[in-house]
């Protein structure tokens, strides 16, 4: 089904500017991206290495790095240019930014200084370069550095806290995008990293069943549950039946308590997929769940028996909600 532009524009009550997004099939984008990335890295690295070696110090890398970022800005900010050139410029920008971060890190010998430089460059990119191909990897790398810095300086629970705050911010930006800035790549990366990191950390009320002490990591768990409940609230535009919405909220809350954080993060993916009507999010969420369940098996913090009860309990909640949703759909069909 191809949505009728004029009809939708009229329903939205906005003025049509006539610009249409030219979609290229994602698999062709993958080929273009792979070629542009491999090619530009092979082109750029010898130049960067040459400057570094010629100067004899790390600071020598700063010059080609700034040059690369400058060229990328020029190529990306000018109108026109095909997808291959766009990916080429994005790669140059990323390599340049990575070199600047590495220079800052090696000069100060501090991970936090490198993370600080990465944050500054990320903010500049977010403001001036809307390309998701820059925002996504730059955000992942920056968050990775912050996690590393926080992990070294503080405790593991701080990582959980940083990551869940990132998930919350990313979810908000995906569901309610801001004016003037296209932050889809940034927001996607913030949410994307959540389950991957959380499934490795010590977060999850389930993993602390035997521990009665207040654990700061639980604050992170509460943030995640809050994010899910907010997402359920956003679904009111699509799910008109109040009872289903309330039951979904209850189920999401119970799952938040039962499920380890990595698995619960993938449930957030599925909620985002439903809210946005996005097949890629649904696909990644499904893969994330399989990955998280396999990770849980190898978690040495819990016995297999407790893991079995937690997963079984969460499974029963899902099945119960499925039965209710099936009944509701059967009841609504004859009237609909």
């Amino acid at each position: 089904m191809i949505p009728d532009r004029q009809k939708i524009i009229a329903q939205l009550g906005v003025e049509d500017d006539g610009i249409s997004h030219a979609d290229i099939a994602w698999y062709i984008e993958v080929l273009i991206t792979a070629g542009a990335w491999i090619g530009s890295i092979a082109l750029v690295l010898p130049i960067a290495a040459l400057f570094g070696f010629a100067n004899g110090s790390e600071a020598g890398l700063a010059l080609p790095a700034i040059l690369m970022v400058g060229i990328a800005f020029f190529l990306l900010r000018r109108p026109g240019g095909g997808p291959f050139l766009r990916q080429f410029a994005s790669t140059i920008a990323l390599v340049g930014e990575a070199l600047l971060v590495a220079t800052a890190g090696s000069l100060t010998e501090s991970v936090l200084a490198a993370a600080g430089m990465a944050v500054v460059l990320l903010l500049v990119s977010l403001r001036f370069l809307p390309q998701a191909s820059i925002q996504f990897p730059a955000t992942i790398a920056t968050l990775g550095l912050i996690i590393l810095g926080v992990g070294i300086e503080y405790h593991l629970w701080a990582i959980d806290l940083v990551v869940t705050i990132a998930v919350a911010l990313g979810t908000y930006l995906l569901i309610s995008p801001p004016h003037r800035l296209d932050l889809r790549g940034f927001a996607t990366a913030l949410v994307f990293l959540g389950p991957l990191v959380l499934s490795m950390g010590e977060l999850g009320m389930g993993s602390e069943l035997g521990n009665d002490d207040w654990h700061p990591g639980r604050a992170a768990q509460i943030i995640l549950i809050g994010v899910s409940l907010w997402l359920v609230w956003q679904l009111r535009f699509f799910i008109r039946e109040r009872l289903i919405l309330i039951l979904l909220a209850v189920a999401v809350f119970v799952l938040g308590i039962l499920m380890p954080a990595g698995l619960y993060g993938s449930v957030i993916f599925l909620l985002i997929a439903y809210a946005l009507g996005s097949t890629p999010w649904a696909f990644v969420g499904s893969i994330g769940i399989i990955y998280a369940i396999s990770r849980i098996y190898y978690n040495i913090g819990l016995t297999l028996m407790i893991k079995s009860f937690l997963l079984g309990g969460a499974g029963i909640v899902c099945i119960a909600l499925w039965i209710i949703a099936e009944r509701a759909s059967r009841v609504s069909k004859p009237h609909g």
Partner: protein, 331 residues
């Protein structure tokens, strides 16, 4: 004149431009979505999540108690599960997706039973026997199931059997070199793709949906690309045996690419298949050129620089060709 279509990217752009308030973004996107389809997806996701977690819980439960289980209990658990799944598949019907899913699960469960036999009796047999017996005994069941996905699962088991047999018997006895294993698997996969296309042409149910073709094509190309890439980096190419093997791998890659290209161009342009083929050809070409340039320039910076230009040229050319083909889908 505005384009007649509207996409979610257009909606997002209108929000960024300030024409639609941020808090109306979801509502605006909802105008483009098929609500029934997403509701059905949500119910399926809930069911899959629930069943998946309960199955994982059952597996974890048995894993916890496995050592304490008597041998007869171990067999009983897996056998009862297999019988239940087969019975369910027969009751529901092999022609329905749920029945086919149960049938496939029964085939997998039968493999687990064979593994339990091996574990309990410590037969000491090589691993290949498990997969070959599994594939062999499961063959009549698969023929009656008539499921394309079932055949895909069966093929994975058969390939594992063939690969392990080659590694543990033929290579160990010196009757085969290990470099031939990807070629063997590549040939089996190419045959499977050929059979699938024949069945699709004759409109047999076993051919399955279109994505089965793409999965098989991806597997064929992956094995032959790996094989040809390894051949490019072979040392001692002047030795007769090595040169012959390099020739077989590279010419085999060429023949496979020509065959699947023909398949992807008729009767219509199959763009996902064409993209995979172009990706495979570009990868092998880039590696071959890279090896040649490295041979000429050695460890000079200019070698890396030239490789960069070559890769960009090859992939850029492939991208331009693909974009042009995608604009005129019908030959």
């Amino acid at each position: 004149m505005a384009n007649e279509e509207i996409t979610v990217s257009d909606i997002h752009r209108l929000v960024v431009a300030g024409k639609i308030p941020s808090d109306r973004y979801l509502q605006s996107r909802s105008l483009l979505r098929n609500e029934d389809k997403w509701r059905q997806w949500a119910r399926l996701a809930l069911l899959a999540l629930g069943v998946g977690q309960i199955i994982a819980a059952v597996i974890f439960f048995f894993a916890f108690n496995w050592a304490e289980f008597p041998d007869i209990g171990k067999f009983a658990v897996v056998e009862i599960l297999t019988v239940i799944l087969v019975g369910f598949a027969i009751v529901v019907g092999f022609d329905r997706p749920l029945g086919q899913a149960a049938g496939i699960a029964a085939f997998v469960s039968f493999g687990v039973l064979l593994a339990v036999v091996g574990q309990v009796y410590q037969t000491g047999a090589d691993a290949w026997t498990l997969f070959v017996i599994w594939a062999g005994l499961g063959l009549p069941f698969m023929i009656s199931l008539r499921s394309a996905v079932g055949w895909l699962v069966w093929l994975v088991v058969a390939l594992l059997g063939a690969s392990l047999y080659a590694e543990q018997v033929l290579v160990a006895d010196g009757r085969m070199v290990s470099d031939m294993i990807p070629i063997l698997l590549g040939v089996i996969l190419a045959l499977a793709l050929g059979i699938r296309e024949f069945l699709a042409k004759k409109q047999f149910r076993e051919a399955g949906p279109f994505w089965i073709r793409l999965v098989l094509l991806a597997a064929v190309l992956a094995f032959w690309t790996f094989s040809a890439s390894a051949a490019i980096f072979e040392s001692n190419m002047l030795t007769l045996g090595v040169a012959a093997l390099v020739f077989i791998r590279i010419s085999g890659f060429g023949v496979v690419c020509a065959g699947v290209l023909r398949l992807a161009l008729r009767p219509f342009y199959d763009m996902p298949a064409l993209t995979m083929i172009f990706l495979a050809i570009s990868t092998v070409l880039s590696l071959a050129l890279g090896r040649a340039l490295y041979f000429v320039f050695r460890e000079d910076f200019s070698a890396l620089f030239m490789i960069g230009i070559a890769v960009m040229g090859i992939f850029g050319g492939a991208a331009v060709l693909l974009l042009r083909l995608s604009q005129r889908r019908i030959p």
